[in-house]
């Protein structure tokens, strides 16, 4: 299979945001003319994922492929079994933690801002502010630049590098929270409500459902910033990733394992337990003292969502852009065309139309609607 550098040569040149790169491409499999490409010739959806024909690579493919560029390590974007993977160092590290060291035959690291030539197509990774190591991927050829933003957010997050807007011709945006009803409040105010509930119900264990990569570490980091210094109990599914975050210099304070057998129905009164959302209201919680279920998610903006899940304390905390962030980001990229993927595409397409921006849904398959 591949040996050496499957992703081709590197360049120290940084992409400048305002002037499209005018370099001559080295010859790839087929020679690229200088005629401006149509965007769909540079990137288009295939059943495996978003495909770049001239560079012969996929972005976040949902099935095993030859060459994959991965925006971030969440399971629906980063799958095991590709021949070669190009991603940020943190994303590669987390994939290794989750899938074992053989998750791909070869791996190559992309630093933020560095440009890499793939068969005449120049790609570069830029911070997406979603989780540790998350990136937007800029793909450029013949003066046309498309940015696939993966999942992203604009609210500040102490556990990852902040989003950097990249000017482009076509912006591919997620739309997980692509409805005007989704406006995420200040994260500190949300964790303050959790800390207040701990004081109001000190006899109850507060079980916080949070996605094990990113959200869990972010909420712990926010609790620490909010002055909560007591040990936090964590579910086994969070242990490796949290330790990795700590190894990257992110302050999470004292974490203790929540998954021990003894103490049926009496453990962790007045303490915070962080666990994957799937355990909320499940048998796993029976070991704790009168568990109070807390769910940290952008979906908690909708009361019925909280009610359906039996959540007593919903915290509106998301690693995805809310409506205002989505629309502001589209404007900042200066894109004349927007492709909308996973989520509520139709409302964001409508907003683009109202604002004179060409837009269409991309209809990618395989990404979880509930990827919170």
């Amino acid at each position: 299979m591949f040996s050496g550098k499957p992703f081709g040569g590197r360049s120290r040149l940084m992409i400048e945001n305002d002037t499209p790169d005018k370099r001559v491409f080295r010859s790839g499999k087929k020679s690229l003319s200088f005629r401006r490409m149509k965007p769909q010739d540079l990137l288009h959806p295939r059943p495996e994922g978003l495909y770049c024909p001239p560079g012969d690579f996929f972005i976040d493919p949902v099935r095993p492929v030859d060459r994959a560029l991965i925006t971030h390590a969440h399971a629906d974007h980063a799958r095991a079994g590709h021949s070669s993977v190009l991603a940020t160092r943190e994303t590669l590290d987390i994939m290794r933690l989750r899938y074992g060291k053989d998750f791909a035959e070869s791996r190559q690291t992309a630093a933020y801002g560095e440009t890499i030539d793939l068969g005449g197509v120049v790609v570069s990774f830029h911070p997406a502010g979603h989780v540790l190591g998350s990136a937007q991927i800029a793909v450029e050829a013949n003066g046309l630049r498309i940015v696939a933003s993966g999942d992203y957010k604009r609210h500040l997050d102490a556990t990852c590098a902040p989003f950097e807007p990249v000017r482009c011709d076509v912006f591919i945006t997620e739309a997980t929270f692509g409805l005007p009803v989704f406006v995420h409040p200040a994260p500190e105010a949300e964790t303050a409500r959790l800390i207040a509930s701990l004081a109001q119900f000190p006899e109850r264990a507060h079980i916080v459902g949070a996605y094990s990569l990113g959200k869990a570490q972010r909420i712990i980091s926010l609790l620490r910033a909010g002055g909560h210094d007591a040990p936090i109990l964590i579910h086994g599914a969070l242990a490796k990733i949290s330790r990795y975050y700590q190894g990257q210099g992110i302050r999470l304070g004292r974490l203790e394992p929540a998954t021990v057998e003894e103490g049926a129905g009496t453990r962790a009164a007045g303490q915070i337990v962080v666990a994957p959302p799937s355990v909320l209201g499940d048998r796993w919680t029976r070991r704790f003292a009168d568990p109070l279920s807390v769910f940290a998610s952008g979906w908690m903006r909708i009361r019925q969502r909280a009610r359906q899940r039996g959540v007593e304390l919903p915290l509106i905390l998301s690693d995805h852009a809310d409506w205002n962030e989505l629309t502001a980001t589209i404007r900042e990229t200066g894109a004349g065309e927007v492709w909308v993927t996973h989520g509520r595409e139709e409302a964001l397409v409508r907003w683009c139309e109202l604002n004179g921006i060409a837009a269409r849904p991309l209809n990618l398959i395989g990404y979880e609607d509930e990827a919170e």
Partner: protein, 533 residues
């Protein structure tokens, strides 16, 4: 407004009664007058703002956003008030603008005219965060459904002041919003509010169920017995020209029963059972009575088809005298003079049931002469009328429940402490030919079993799941394989809403029949036969 909207958000998601009480008590203790008093009025259904209508709110938001984006949003959220509160274009953080206090909002809403309402409401919405916007809309349109009864709010007040809830119920209808004198008394800053109001509620006296061995210690000669009528407990009070009909918990339900209220007067406080029918002709069933319950207003047709009357069994006040400290027999003697003087189609006397031995009464209890009787009441002859549930003076001795063997069909996750268990069970009985048995669901029950039994059923449900629909699992239930539940219930009503045509009253699981083959559970005909009675 923020503290109030936070309270509403927490209450609606808190399943346990004690949790709700804690939230309410902390709120009342921590929020100053007059806001807490306005909140109390909102929670007890005491606010009404006729100038604000949902259609107006919708029009307001449409002036401010694209209608397609609104339609997508409303379609997703499903609740108009919530959608408007979420999409309203206002600063997400309102710290910089001084957010209006609840008291200001209530006063503004109560003064505003219909023509000014749109501008005023928009001005308020602009200054509130999304949660407070939701509270405002619910407040203004009168649609607070937050799972808190007026009684629970009063219990939180009782906890706040270390008082008995009966004291608060007794005062309640003489108090004025925003209840500053009430809070002053509860916090020990002033005496008990004196009230000049008339026709107040008197907290009711309740009975204990007859327990194992209770009667062996009691002398039958010290007690009188009455039938226990299956209606709703009411109190009819008339004083100084003011007439009120109260529920058991002191809610004023006069508006729903104008026919009864019109039929009494004078200076009296009667305690009794509200029933449907005409005491001279017939007493209607509980399902007839249900036609009249939970209505704010009542149509002429309803008044004619389902007239109500009151079967009186106690007298608390008569001609300027509070009778509650007098013995039951003395009160009863006055009652027997008072009731016959009232409208005979609207009031009658609950008859005494003669007996001399407990086993004799037991026979009567098991086989009552009328289907609307659900057992007997025992009242000690010398007992004063003491509010609450004192042990000893009053007992209720109910008819044995009906029993049916049904098969578990669906199980749903419980709430609160039981959210990790499948604890709500839908069960069915057999219908169809012997060689083609089908289960028809006949009811749902979520208590009656012990914690140990719950664990066993939970395991059974998980091991025998056929399909999952969100929080519900359908459980394998066939003639050759299924879990038989013995279900106890108080009665059966006809129902057009249920496929089986019957609805059980107060069903609960009385036994788990692990031993019984599913095919031997009861058939629907067993239940429909009960209806024919």
């Amino acid at each position: 407004m923020r503290r109030f909207s936070e309270l509403l958000d927490r209450l609606v998601l808190t399943p346990s009664r004690n949790g709700k009480l804690r939230l309410l008590t902390d709120y009342f203790a921590g929020v100053p007058d007059p806001d807490r008093g306005h909140a109390l009025a909102a929670l007890t259904g005491g606010l009404d703002f006729p100038s604000v209508k949902p259609a107006m709110l919708r029009a307001l938001v449409m002036e401010r956003m694209d209608e397609v984006l609104f339609a997508y949003s409303y379609d997703y959220v499903g609740d108009l008030a919530e959608t408007i509160s979420l999409v309203w274009p206002a600063p997400e953080s309102v710290d910089e603008v001084e957010a209006p206090a609840l008291g200001h909002v209530v006063e503004t809403l109560s003064r505003v005219s219909r023509s000014d309402a749109p501008t005023v409401i928009a001005g308020l919405l602009d200054r509130l965060d999304p949660s407070a916007r939701f509270a405002l809309i619910k407040l203004a349109t009168g649609g607070m459904r937050i799972g808190v009864s007026a009684r629970l709010a009063k219990q939180a007040l009782a906890a706040l002041g270390g008082r008995d809830v009966g004291e608060i119920e007794e005062l309640w209808h003489g108090l004025e919003q925003p209840y500053e004198t009430l809070f002053a008394w509860l916090e020990g800053r002033a005496g008990k509010p004196e009230s000049a109001a008339r026709a107040l509620f008197r907290p009711v006296m309740l009975a204990h169920p007859v327990g194992e061995g209770d009667l062996e210690r009691l002398d039958p000669a010290e007690y009188v017995a009455e039938w226990k009528w299956d209606g709703i407990r009411v109190q009819a009070v008339s004083e100084g020209g003011v007439k009120r009909l109260y529920s058991r918990t002191g809610d004023d339900i006069s508006g729903a029963f104008p026919d009864l209220v019109a039929a009494f007067g004078g200076d009296v406080a009667l305690d009794g059972e509200l029933l449907v029918g005409d005491p001279i002709v017939r007493t209607g069933s509980f399902s007839d009575l249900q036609q009249r319950l939970n209505r704010k207003t009542v149509s002429k047709r309803m008044l004619a088809d389902y007239p109500v009357f009151m079967r009186c069994y106690d007298l608390l006040h008569w001609e300027g005298e509070d009778l509650r400290q007098r013995a039951f027999e003395e009160r009863r003697a006055v009652l027997e003079k008072v009731v016959p003087a009232l409208d005979r189609h609207r009031f009658d006397l609950s008859p005494l049931v003669a007996f001399s031995r407990w086993d004799e009464l037991d026979g009567l209890r098991r086989d009552p002469p009328h289907p609307v009787i659900e057992g007997v009441m025992l009242k000690r002859r010398d007992a004063v009328y003491s509010p609450g549930r004192p042990k000893g003076p009053w007992f209720k001795w109910k008819r044995d429940p009906f029993i049916v063997d049904a098969v578990l069909m669906y199980a749903q996750r419980g709430h609160g402490k039981r959210s990790s268990y499948y604890s709500d069970y839908t069960f069915g009985v057999w219908a169809g030919a012997e060689d083609d048995l089908q289960l028809v669901p006949v009811g749902k029950a979520y208590f009656g079993f012990t914690d140990e039994e719950l664990k066993l059923i939970d395991k059974y449900v998980r091991d025998n799941t056929v399909e999952r629909f969100g929080p519900v699992r359908s459980v394998r239930a066939e003639p050759g394989h299924g879990l038989v539940l013995e279900v106890a219930f108080e009665g059966l009503n006809r129902s057009t809403r249920h496929k089986s045509g019957v609805a059980m009253r107060f069903p609960r699981i009385s036994r788990l029949r692990w031993d019984k083959p599913a095919a031997e559970a009861d058939r629907i005909e067993t239940l429909t036969a009960l209806l024919a009675e």
